[in-house]
Symmetry: C2
Subunit: 377 residues, 2 copies
């Protein structure tokens, strides 16, 4: 019998699990939020993941339940576990990824390197933190943020009045304030861990952000071999082991101007900074996630070419889909690996990505950017 | 709007078109012969491809119809074309691949290198051909053969009495006799051609057969660079252009002991000898086939590693599926790319394949064979 994976959420991460499931002979079923989701080919059900009954019915007869996103409520997750369903990552691990205050508390308790931070319940808490950190800090909602949403750089507590007014609420019961880290660049380290303990790591990558959204990834991060790579991998392995993460874990990192590596964010699922691995690594993060959550032996994370560069394609103000521009991009960049998520191209929305691999970094960057810019129109 | 490809036939070739369709944002629909086909994830309909009405209904609203196999009757193909459906490869091209006598006649007329052959209508025709070719020749049914079926090496016409008795019938209106070629090895050359003319070629590969079935493929064929590769590519390009093939064309070749390259068989679709390209080439034969039949610009056919080795997995006498052996194979060969076709493991049936790529051929062969043998049990 084919092993069956149930994925909650029908976004592009679920979509990109489909090809490796086909290869490995796994059955993949997706509980999508809407008809016509990005993962529609594998969507066996459309329903609300906040509803325990819906999720329990979906999880019947699957070998494991995993996720396209981290938003499934703890009550629903625990109902699954109580019903005997194998859930990976487990609710206890996901709890840490679902709330940035919990995450900071756990990482600090583990002695892992993080920016200075504070739990902020009132404007005066924030005023104190501002005064201690040069008058300019980052404030984040504890819950519900993504791609720059729920993150503001502020010089005065009045700049997050609306967030204070909403507390406690869907964004959490307090805010998180963090020092503005002086960083040289952003890195990301992905690892995968099986329930039985095996962990593998991909090379640490450089992540280039624009407007709070990941724009480009270079794998491996140039010049990272040695100390930086070792620190990044050690941090991610520790997080995976200590938090009991199963499946893929992505750790977003700052490489500071004083040569430290600090943890920025965690994601307990395949992550945008690992998309390069589909075309650049022997085992992609999507195949590895499927292996890991099924507790199957993990695949080789080596690379064939020296460099992989991934560039996101965002929906733009111009009308038109990636499909409209396929012929032009293919003609211009025959070596570009195109990934179209099958989503409506709303402005700023991630609708796809392009990866190019090769041994000359300048050439690889040029090709990947050219292809992505063609799509952007 | 996403481009839509309709595939007739639900075998593993249709199945392996699904991952690149997901990547490129194409919609893929499959007309499968049965429920639970290898391509079931994309099967939108189950029906009989001999029935024009079924196929016409399936083909409504697709941008192109293409094939998992070459068995769709000419009458059905022509009904599609008359209804205005884009069909690739076109009926005229497929006609040549559907009948080995027609193929030999066309290739000979084009002056392409083929083994000596003759059209055999009676036992006395075969006696004459035997006498002229050392008393031992190959006889093939014109239609319906695959994987060694419909092929016999004979020393007497009585050895194909059953085939004569069935003429004219489903195996054709005559038999094909061919000289027994003294060959050093078997090669295969795949190319892809768009309706608008662009052609690209992958490296020529070596195909190792066991019991008339492709067992292993080494890409590129060792020691083929130069004259052999040039001849193989020139032959395949000529076939594609002269026969008007669209999509992927695979040409099976003999490399003779006297250093000639002769055409053995043709397939106008992705082919077992091209499966290595999924993991070994920038653009796989399945992605390329989708691009080509949609008349989209073709992708780069370069390779990342020096060598790719593919080994087929056949159903064995032991019970059990590939799924049962996944953990053992993954633990033993973390670099093996596993492709499980999701088929019942009847003895001798191709149920999957394994590919390993790398720069040390001995090592790559060892890993690929080890993984495939683990599956065979």
């Amino acid at each position: 019998m084919a092993l069956t994976v149930g994925v909650i959420g029908g976004g592009q991460l679920a979509r990109m699990m489909v090809p490796p499931a086909v290869g490995l002979g796994l059955e993949i079923r997706v509980l999508a939020e809407t008809e016509g989701s990005s993962a529609r080919l594998a969507a066996t059900e459309v329903g609300d993941y906040h509803d325990a009954e819906t999720v329990l019915a979906f999880a019947r007869d699957v070998d494991v339940v995993t996720f396209d996103h981290e938003h499934v409520p703890q009550g629903v997750l625990r109902a699954l576990v109580e019903a005997g369903v194998s859930v990976h990552p487990a609710p206890e691990a996901l709890f840490v990824a679902q709330d940035k205050l919990v995450m900071r508390e756990r990482l600090s308790a583990l002695g892992l390197p993080v920016p200075d931070w504070a739990r902020i319940e009132t404007p005066s808490d924030l005023d104190v933190f501002l005064a201690e950190h040069g008058g300019r800090v980052v404030v984040k909602t504890a819950r519900g943020g993504y791609d720059g949403h729920g993150v503001r750089v502020v010089t005065s507590s009045s700049e997050v009045d609306d967030w204070f007014a909403a507390l406690p609420g869907p964004t959490g019961d307090a805010l998180l304030a963090e020092e503005l880290v002086e960083f040289r660049r952003e890195l990301a380290q992905s690892v995968a861990r099986r329930p039985s303990g095996e962990i593998v790591a991909w090379p640490v990558v450089e992540s280039i952000q624009r407007d709070g959204v990941c724009a480009e990834v270079i794998a491996p991060a140039p010049g990272s071999a040695g100390r930086i790579a070792d620190m990044a991998e050690a941090i991610a392995r520790t997080v995976a082991e200590e938090l009991g993460v199963t499946g893929v874990l992505a750790v977003e990192l700052f490489e500071t101007t004083d040569d430290r590596v600090l943890i920025n964010e965690l994601a307990m699922r395949p992550h945008n900074t690992g998309h390069w691995s589909i075309d650049g690594s022997t085992t992609s993060q999507f195949e590895q996630h499927l292996r890991a959550v099924l507790d199957l032996p993990l695949g080789d994370t080596g690379t064939h070419d020296a460099w992989s560069v991934m560039v996101n394609v965002l929906g733009g103000p111009a009308t038109g889909t990636m499909a409209d521009r396929l012929p032009a991009v293919m003609a211009d960049q025959p070596g570009a690996k195109i990934h179209d998520y099958g989503k409506d191209p709303r402005p700023g929305r991630k609708v796809g990505h392009v990866t190019v691999t090769g041994d000359d970094l300048d050439d690889v960057v040029f090709q990947a950017r050219a292809a992505a810019e063609f799509f952007a129109g």
